[in-house]
């Protein structure tokens, strides 16, 4: 346990270095917020094109979804990128993997570093939505435990998804670096990041209901937005949302661990664990 904690801490430090030390702090800070703010403004102009200046509650829905999305991307894609980056770019995968530490703890550490760096984007986007766009965002003291609980459970769920994606990446090469992006794009579509999942056709709605990310975003919106805001799962109470999120996260964590174990085994059988593609 102590070794796992030390591994996680070191991996977190490494992930932070890889993420941040390519430029000076100012440019890094700009880099962290430019993309999410750009994304939010695109949506703002789309809403205005469709509904005029009085966009109403839809804007709040978009702001919260866009604000928290970088954390989803960072947690989910962070692990897979650590695998691809260490294998293809830094060429350190074989050394990390053969070190007497938990490889999973290492990947979790790398992903958490990205989640931490994405937190700035979350804060800035929420602030921008509230101060500039006038979205009625709020976080009441009484709801803080709910928020923290939802945040922690959601991040765990995102890491579980990341583990499953990293499992896939372990067994493919070449275009492996785009696989996390593909998973992210699919989640973006079906998990209610931009619009309530009720808009989706029935089969996609079913998929959305089975994803922890959909419930996570729903829980976060219930904390940050007024009660009359659009919801993805209007029939569920706040506690039901949190409970469903917890159950789904547990299921995804189990599946992620299983998938990763199987994939690791397969990659070792095929001898492709540290194979560089040379693209």
């Amino acid at each position: 346990m102590r070794t796992a904690w030390r591994t996680l801490r070191t991996a977190f430090w490494l992930g932070w270095q890889v993420e941040s030390n390519w430029t000076d702090p100012l440019l890094f800070a700009l880099y962290q917020v430019v993309r999410p703010l750009g994304g939010l403004l695109i949506l703002l102009f789309m809403v205005r094109a469709a509904a005029g200046p009085a966009a109403g509650p839809a804007l709040g829905f978009l702001v919260v979804g866009t604000a928290f999305w970088p954390a989803v991307v960072a947690g989910m894609q962070g692990m897979a990128w650590a695998v691809v980056g260490d294998r293809e770019h830094w060429r350190t995968l074989r050394y990390v993997y053969t070190a007497p530490v938990s490889f999973r703890a290492y990947l979790v550490g790398r992903a958490l570093a990205l989640v931490a760096s994405a937190s700035a984007a979350v804060a800035v986007t929420l602030l921008f939505g509230w101060a500039v766009l006038g979205v009625p965002l709020r976080l009441e003291l009484g709801e803080l435990p709910y928020f923290l609980c939802a945040w922690a459970t959601g991040v765990t769920g995102v890491l579980a998804l990341g583990l499953a994606t990293a499992a896939g990446v372990l067994c493919v090469s070449g275009e492996a670096w785009r696989m996390p992006e593909a998973v992210g794009a699919a989640l973006y579509l079906v998990s209610g990041a931009l619009f309530p999942v009720t808009v989706l056709p029935e089969p996609l709605r079913q998929v959305a209901s089975a994803l922890p990310v959909s419930w996570w975003l729903e829980a976060l919106r219930r904390v940050w937005l007024p009660e009359n805001s659009p919801q993805s799962f209007p029939w569920a109470s706040d506690l039901q949302v949190l409970a469903t999120l917890a159950v789904l996260v547990a299921a995804f964590a189990a599946c992620g661990l299983l998938a990763f174990g199987l994939s690791e085994r397969r990659a070792r059988q095929l001898g492709i664990l540290d194979r560089e593609t040379g693209f």
């Binding site: 430029t23 880099y31 785009r178 593909a182 794009a185 579509l189 619009f195 309530p196």
Partner: protein, 269 residues
């Protein structure tokens, strides 16, 4: 041997990996088609959730096609010299007698042709999925705008190729900075006029801004709030194409200068 013949052969030689790439590794086709399409579909649902008319839904689909081109220009043109440097190709490119220009032209040609196919698939799939008609009023002008825009766009890519290498420590990060901000400024998913005249004018430095606006005018007529008249946009695109050709030349010279005189390929240490 005439330098022209050598240049043509070199350009075709460099275009080859781009052209066989999609065919050889089908995953490229999937990622370059399905990914922008997924993004566009999500935005289509945003419009649908707001009860937007069909032509706005078509904007989102066109945005997906524009995104395929922009991603190709960013990741396979602008960042390409960076990848080539990492792989050890760039030094070889600098000692071959054809020079860098035909190599860049080949990259552009291969990239444009391959992306044309992907963008076509995105538009076709999006249009079929959501039953959105994509009418074209003046096909000749439409194709002229499209062709000139492609030349200008890849001219920008060629300029970026050496500029990224000069400025960037990690082309990956630099390219990432040019994603959402460009989708926003070029009006990938909404009429660019909504940004206001001066912002749209500044954003017109990116050829996709004018191209999308002109193409939308030619498709949706008065339904589209135009930024500038189509023929003005066409001539501006011609100007951009010429300007980027000059900028690319200057940027390449600067890169060669730094590489040969200073022994480095970046403006930063």
């Amino acid at each position: 041997m005439s330098p022209w013949v050598r240049s043509v052969r070199a350009a075709l030689g460099r275009a080859y990996p781009r052209l066989v790439g999609s065919n050889r590794d089908r995953a490229w086709l999937f990622y370059d088609t399905v990914l922008p399409l997924l993004g566009s579909v999500a935005l289509v649902y945003v419009y649908r959730s707001l009860g937007a008319p069909d032509h706005l839904v078509a904007y989102a689909i066109m945005g997906g096609a524009a995104m395929a081109f922009w991603m190709n220009v960013l990741w396979s043109m602008a960042a390409q010299f960076y990848w080539d440097k990492m792989a050890g190709n760039l030094e070889l490119y600098m000692v071959v007698p054809c020079g860098l220009v035909p190599i860049l032209l080949g990259m552009s040609l291969g990239g444009a042709v391959a992306t044309l196919l992907r963008a076509g698939l995105i538009v076709a799939a999006g249009s079929l999925l959501f039953g959105v008609p994509l009418p074209v009023r003046d096909l000749g002008l439409f194709l002229a705008v499209f062709a000139v825009a492609l030349v200008a766009l890849y001219g920008l890519g060629v300029t970026f190729a050496s500029a990224f290498l000069l400025w960037g420590r990690e082309a990956w990060h630099t390219a990432n900075l040019f994603m959402e901000p460009v989708f926003l400024l070029s009006g990938f998913y909404f009429p660019v006029r909504a940004l206001g005249f001066w912002t749209a004018a500044a954003a017109s430095l990116i050829p996709l801004t004018l191209a999308l606006d002109a193409l939308r005018q030619l498709m949706f007529g008065p339904l589209h709030p135009a930024f500038l008249p189509v023929h003005v946009e066409l001539w501006l695109l011609v100007g951009l194409a010429a300007a980027f050709a000059l900028a690319a030349r200057a940027s390449l010279r600067r890169m060669e200068h730094l590489a040969r005189r200073e022994g480095r390929l970046s403006l930063r240490f």
